[in-house]
Symmetry: C2
DNA sequence: CCAATGTCAGGTTGACTGATATGC
DNA sequence: CGCATATCAGTCTACCTGACATTG
């Protein structure tokens, strides 16, 4: 997964060592760099699993979200809000999912400005099949115990709260 | 920072609740999604700070890396290895940094295949100035205590080891 | 001859900005 | 009228693959 061969020393620990010789905040630098790398690991691991299904992580998340709703449908705007992505990215992602037959656009009953996105039966099926594999991959976090996984979620929740993702 | 307004409930906690009603691995899903979001937060925070310097996170990391070396120079390949990025990405990043005058390409003394990338005086200066601001931003992790920051680094190190980033 | 190094061309994804058509 | 909703065009970063020239 790394670009090259495994290094003989932890590159982040090494950077931290150098950083603290001239600057403050070496701990934050190390944590931030670790987050950047961990994201890459999770994304690569999940996308490797999703590739045979012709899905990316972003499109997979959209399908899962739609599958969670009662009617299997959401307005474009709501999707962007829940997935925390840009409105034009929603358009882009829904375009692709629709071309694959996994969702379809439907007019809203009362508000003709809004477009509803509805998951299709095919979309539901591929979500089920893909999810089995994603779970098996443990999102690339198989090295952590259940306790550590929860600890991680809890720590990162503080970061998300601080930035105003939601009102706790 | 979020795409829309803050939500009234933690979207990840909500996804976890729904996920565990039908599938296994809800804890890993929540942690993985938290990592994805945290990366976005860190990246956005740092890039906001770096924008006035006309630097991206990737280019800033390259400058910091070069500044850490004794001679202020590294072969392209080594840079990609240490930064864990693709060879063509190294070319791209060095192209831009060179156009900005922050690095320059130099031939290697003995191996004429390799290109050395050397940080310039201007590159060093902008690194110093940018770093002051980056430290002040705490990489977007200001909500965590020093202990929590280290805890985070430690947890994510396990993930990196498991994927073979380096030999511990 | 084979391996390593860096570059280039071309394709993909997703994010962003700014403008626009439509409808509340 | 202002505001919301979604789209479109165009730009950008970063990644990847495959090919290539040069050199060890």
């Amino acid at each position: 997964m790394p670009a090259g061969r495994p290094l003989s020393v932890d590159p982040i620990a090494e950077a931290r060592r150098q950083w603290e010789q001239r600057w403050d905040g070496a701990e934050e630098m190390a944590a931030a760099t670790s987050i950047m790398r961990a994201q890459q690991i999770v994304q690569t691991r999940v996308e490797d699993v999703l590739r045979p299904f012709d899905l990316t992580f972003a499109r997979y998340e959209a399908l899962v979200l739609l599958g969670f709703t009662r009617r299997g449908a959401l307005p474009m705007g709501k999707m962007g809000e829940r997935l925390m992505i840009h409105p034009t990215s929603v358009t882009n992602i829904v375009d692709r999912l629709e071309a694959q037959g996994f969702v379809r656009r439907r007019p809203h009953q009362t508000d003709r400005r809004t477009t509803l996105v509805e998951i299709t039966e095919g979309g539901r099926q591929i979500t089920e099949r893909a999810t089995k594999e994603v779970i098996a991959s443990a999102f690339g976090l198989g090295a952590l115990s259940e306790r550590e996984v929860d600890q991680l979620t809890r720590l990162l929740r503080k970061v998300r709260v601080a930035v105003g993702d939601f009102t706790p």
